[in-house]
């Protein structure tokens, strides 16, 4: 907690699945209040990179320092409370109601009393316009509703950083905007955010920094302005030509 200036430092991160080397030495820093959008062609390791940050995938080698503390197998569970994650497929717990999804972690981790957690959950549900769904099971929600609940579920733990792994890729066009505006709102409130997305205009709008991955390495990074209008590498120029 003492060192709030740098949230996260990653040094020489490697990740391989068997013989398949997905990340080949990533060096990266994330500072408080930054909003980093990770871009790159498919198979470049964007999602794996994001998933390594909270050890959904355990790094093969390299060093990660979160709030001045080296991340290890021993402390990762505690650190995860400070790194919220929103998944492409929402991953709401299907045998629990929306309310139970929201209160499970804060109550189980003894961060909140049940009554306080439920009160907070209701506030957040009201905020996203879904207070009537508190007792509903995830199966009865639309994709957009599920993802917004997943976002406030991550917020229940008041994390320092929020990771979004293609949060709108599984949504219909109408729901996408609902989810994006919720993310935008978190950004406006100063949340530190990392997003893997294919929504280029959103990336341009929300990012304070763009990171471009190719073949498991960061080959270019900069402000959206620099990145989209003055790309430095041929690879990025080629990428932008295809998508814009």
């Amino acid at each position: 907690m003492e060192n709030k200036n740098t949230d996260l430092v990653i040094k020489n991160l490697h990740k391989s699945f068997g013989k398949n080397n997905v990340l080949n030495g990533i060096n990266f820093e994330l500072k408080e209040g930054e909003r980093v959008v990770v871009l790159g062609p498919s198979g470049s390791g964007k999602s794996t990179f994001l998933r390594c940050i909270n050890w959904m995938e355990e790094p093969t080698s390299g060093e990660m320092i979160f709030d001045g503390e080296l991340v290890t197998e021993k402390n990762i569970r505690r650190i995860r409370r400070n790194i919220g994650m929103v998944f492409q497929h929402f991953n709401l717990i299907s045998n629990m109601t929306v309310m139970e999804n929201l209160t499970l972690a804060p109550v189980k981790l003894k961060l909140m009393k049940r009554a306080a957690a439920e009160k907070r959950a209701m506030e957040l549900l009201r905020h996203i316009g879904l207070p009537s769904k508190a007792q509903a099971y995830p199966a009865s929600l639309s994709g957009g509703q599920k993802q917004r609940v997943a976002i406030i579920r991550a917020m229940m733990l008041s994390p320092e950083v929020l990771l979004f792994d293609e949060p709108t890729s599984a949504l219909d066009p109408e729901s996408i905007e609902d989810v994006l505006s919720l993310i935008r709102e978190l950004a406006d409130r100063g949340m530190t955010i990392m997003i893997v997305t294919h929504e280029m205009s959103f990336a341009k709008e929300i990012a304070t920094r763009i990171v471009f991955l190719d073949k498991g390495k960061i080959i270019e990074e900069g402000t959206p302005e620099e990145f989209f209008t003055h790309p430095k590498t041929e690879r990025v120029k080629e990428f932008l030509k295809k998508i814009l």
């Binding site: 505690r78 995860r80 189980k108 099971y137």
Partner: protein, 234 residues
């Protein structure tokens, strides 16, 4: 046909026959019940070891489970029963009901393990990841998230296993035990009845009724477990 019905009423009005059938039926139920308790308990342990996160400490237990399940599923139940009776428990005076329970329990464990393992693996990995990302322990994730979802997939298949065991216990008559199957044969070979078809028909009704009842209960449990899949509120 008249003779058939006459024999049926004779069977049901002779206390001695009824007594034999009920005795046999009770033994069938006892063996099945205790064997299934052992089977589901051991099967759960095997499935948990089999689906546990791979690590250095789990290599040997995982291998043992794999080999155990392979051997049990790869050999006939009747042979396993014979080995128990005539090799492992070839001790004079050892109660045969216990031997039968152990034999069926160990057999059922392997099948139950496969059913439970399949149920656990059928739960979407995203559910586990959701729990991990929230900082929950593997224990909490299993008991609160994975197990309740796995049970929904396990119950129907486990119902099958229960039915299979009840029917399969009929082979204890091969080692001379007086179960429902044996009772039917015994009554049929008696001089008074002098007909196999009638007692065997009645024994079949006993089996059928039991299995029908179990299927009914399993369906009810299944239905109540599926509540969260329906678009209803709690």
């Amino acid at each position: 046909m008249d003779n058939f019905f006459a024999k049926i009423s004779e069977l049901f009005s002779t206390p001695e026959y009824i007594d034999s059938l009920l005795h046999g039926f009770l033994l069938t139920l006892q063996i099945s019940y205790f064997a299934l308790l052992i089977g589901i308990f051991l099967g759960t342990i095997i499935a948990l070891i089999d689906t546990a996160k791979p690590s250095r400490w789990m290599i040997v237990p995982k291998l043992i489970c794999r080999v155990y399940v392979g051997i049990i599923r790869g050999t006939p139940m009747a042979l396993q029963l014979f080995i128990m009776f005539f090799v492992i428990f070839a001790i004079k005076g050892f109660p045969s009901i216990i031997i039968a329970i152990i034999a069926f329990g160990l057999n059922s464990a392997a099948y139950a393990a496969e059913v439970i393992r399949g149920g656990i693996l059928s739960v979407d990995t995203g559910q586990t990841e959701a729990g991990l990302a929230l900082g929950l322990s593997r224990f909490t994730i299993f008991t609160k998230i994975v197990a309740p979802q796995a049970i929904k997939n396990i119950i129907p298949a486990l119902g099958n296993e229960i039915i299979t065991v009840i029917k399969e216990t009929a082979i204890v008559s091969m080692v001379g035990m007086y179960d429902l199957n044996m009772a039917a044969k015994d009554i049929g070979s008696g001089q008074n009845m002098a007909s196999y078809i009638v007692p065997m028909f009645v024994a079949a009704l006993f089996y059928l009724a039991t299995i029908y009842l179990i299927s009914f209960i399993v369906k009810r449990i299944e239905k109540s477990l599926r509540r969260s899949d329906l678009r209803v509120e709690k």
